[in-house]
Amino acid sequence: MIPPLPRPKRKNPVLRTRAPLLPPGPRSRAALGLTAAAALGRFELQECAACGAVQYPPREACHRCLGVELPWRRQSGEGELIAETTIHHSHDTFFRERLPWRLGMVRLDAGPTVVAHLHGGCGTAPARVLVGARLDKAGQGVLVAFPPEEVPNMADDRQLREMTCDPKYRKVLITDGKTAVGQALVRAVCAAGAELVWVGHAEPWKKLPGLEQIDAMPGVSLVPLDLTDSRAVREIAGEIGGKVDILINNAEVHRTQGIASRSGIEVARAEMDVNYFGLLRLAQEFAPAMRARAADGQSSATAWVNLLSVFALSSFPGQGTYSASKAAALSLSQTLRAEMRPAGIRVIDVFPGPLDDEWNQTLPPPKVSPEALARAIVAALRDGVEDVYPGEVAAEWFARWRENPKALERELASQS
């Protein structure tokens, strides 16, 4: 039985805020394959290309036939918990302050025996379990054994919550509430149990549809936030930066042009000013405060979400300057991730295909609805993944990009 997460008490401002610690992060290059898959929410292990044997721990050669081609393949994770322990002692500083901690040894149906964090809903050994991969606070892939079926309060498991960024009882900043995506996000994080939601809106004198209804929702408050104004970003960070647990940066400028279709750089500059420099301004002002609160009790600062585009991977020439601004933001986001990692704060990049909005009016379906995008972002927070490709178009283009980026470049050029 997993007790439901209690609503956090108000923070005592006199007490010292606990400094963030990380579980052991070093890994061999082979083992980073587990991390790479977990970042996408997948559980993959190496399988020998020659004989098919599933391998664990990750390695350089097949334990059965010595083959050295060991591609990572998705696993069902089904297996039997054959032994378990609860540790009450650890030499590691991260675990020391989180004891006791439950671990299991699982014989996967696919063959190998794995050591895994044991979810509180799992029965005592021997028991059937479902092993999955998660990113831990250090941002590295680890294995978690889950009960084979959903149990009540599954996401509230104390150990699991150290690996996820669940919005429940957390305070969220959504940087742009004027768009359909922003408003869908507000509704989605509220439905997911967020404690407070700040919703940014530039140019507050403009009365845009939907804002009033958002503002009227309990726990939601509008804050003036223009990402092109360094001073304004600093001011709002000074006001709420020390309270934000999850920052979702969905503000963007989106125009549809390549190079030859328009003269001058004004529109491209406007895109960069929000999509790239806006992220940089936000990161400079909000990231330090979030890092400092990364281990601040049950509802610590936990995640930063950037709304990018699948065009960040490879340019869609019909929206060439927009693609370039998202590519710049992707690169900056990797830097932000590197800088957030010592605190254990997850940086989540969202790469949707074309959204079903006015700027993609001429594109054929399928297009991602704002509601579906918001759902995907909340799911990413709950699963603690790093990279999300919501919608069929994004999933397909990502698969094409992984397999052959040059081919995708040609394919995108011919679609424009």
Partner: protein, 393 residues
């Protein structure tokens, strides 16, 4: 069918030496190697120049290995071995050295296991122990082998009905033995209640199921019988040995070690049966491993060790003397020296060089090696049967 190994002829072991253990030391491992070597020379009445083979086992010599120690200690050898195999290093060193002397590659081999222990060195060693441990165990928080052995212990209890009281019996008896051994780290008796109520470490393991890391060294010399007699050194004979690595890799969890593969050959070559053995030194890094070794080495059937434990006293003056100087659980675990502890104690028992209480009339001793938990199980299994001079086939 594997060809039977040749016997060890006239090659013998002598000069059991223990450098007393300390919980922590500010000295490096080199210090303990030097003291062990000096102790061996003193014991044998040999000059440094008369040692022409060196076998060294240590986890804390880095960046040095055995070769660096030849210069450090100013010795010239014509045979050199470095075997950082933890709990198996003693028996494996013995096997190599016996053949070296037998074949004439060396005349006198000093075998030494030594490690230091700084206040923080155990924690620091954990992350660099093996690639598999760093990738697949260390990130899960257990910090060392405790969790791995907690899995094995709980699985063993579940499979064979062992109770906490059965493990307690071994730990309490070994503590009893240790009270007569001047170098033991633990000097007070251990009661059943203390064992059962000790603070939990990794369930079902509690504090007294776990060894205490410390600094120290163990060593012995391998030479021809003629040389030992010329030196007036008491010696023991080695009747038979085995080592086996990564046995039963297909077992989902470790309930047996490589001993069961080689047991028949081990006793066959020695010309004795398990019931002829007068004292056993298991590799007792956790009491469950003693039970597994007693089964795999033929003292009882698989799964029957709990019942076997209930039948015996394990003290030096009782039935089935086990870990006669207290084992690691009471003497302490000085890194790779722990892999030598049982051998060195066996040689003492068979040469009347006792520090602990002697086992009356002991003729045959079995010393077991086990070690190297690079992921979820100990990979090395080893064992040696030793005989008092004049006894055995």
């Amino acid at each position: 069918m594997t060809r039977a190994a040749a016997d060890y002829g006239d090659v013998v072991v002598a000069a059991p030496v223990t450098v007393p253990y300390v919980r922590h030391s500010i000295r490096s491992a080199h210090h303990f190697v030097a003291r062990a070597l000096a102790g061996l020379l003193r014991r044998a009445g040999l000059a440094k120049s008369e040692i022409d083979g060196l076998s060294l086992a240590s986890f804390t010599l880095a960046p040095d290995t055995a070769i660096g120690l030849t210069q450090h200690l100013g010795i010239t050898t014509r045979w050199l071995d470095f075997l950082p195999l933890g709990g198996a290093s003693g028996v494996v060193a013995l096997r190599r050295a016996l053949r070296a002397v037998q074949s004439g590659d060396a005349e006198v081999v000093a075998c030494i296991g030594a490690d230091t222990n700084h206040v923080d060195s155990f924690r620091q060693s954990l992350g660099s122990f093996s690639v598999f441990a760093r990738d697949a165990v260390f990130p899960y928080g257990s910090g060392g082998p405790n969790a791995s052995f907690a899995f094995l212990t709980s699985h063993y209890m579940q499979s064979f009905g062992a109770r906490r009281e059965d493990f307690a019996k071994l730990c309490v008896a070994q503590r009893q033995n240790a009270l007569h051994y001047p170098h033991a780290m633990f000097k007070k008796p251990l009661s059943l209640e203390e064992y059962l109520n000790a603070r939990p470490i990794a369930e079902p393991l509690r504090l007294f199921d776990c060894v205490m890391p410390c600094a120290g060294a163990e060593g012995f010399l391998v030479m021809s019988r003629g040389r030992a007699e010329a030196l007036g050194l008491p010696y023991a004979r080695v009747l038979s040995t085995m080592e086996r690595h990564n046995a039963f890799a297909e077992d989902p969890i470790q309930l047996r070690g490589g001993w069961s593969l080689d047991r028949d050959r081990l006793y066959g070559s020695a010309g004795i049966a398990p019931e002829d053995v007068d004292l056993v030194q298991t590799y007792d890094d956790y009491p469950v491993m003693s039970m597994i070794q007693l089964e795999d080495l033929g003292f009882c059937a698989k799964g029957e060790a709990p019942e076997f434990v209930r039948r015996h006293s394990f003290t030096t003056d009782g039935s089935f003397p086990l870990n006669t100087c207290g084992g690691q659980l009471s003497a302490g675990q000085a890194g790779c020296a722990a892999g030598f502890l049982g051998l060195v104690e066996s040689i003492r028992q068979l040469t009347d060089g006792n520090l602990a209480r002697p086992v009356e009339g002991a003729r045959f001793a079995l010393a077991v090696g086990f070690g190297m938990i690079t992921y979820d199980r100990g990979l090395c299994s080893a064992a040696a049967i030793l005989a008092r001079a004049g006894d055995g086939a």
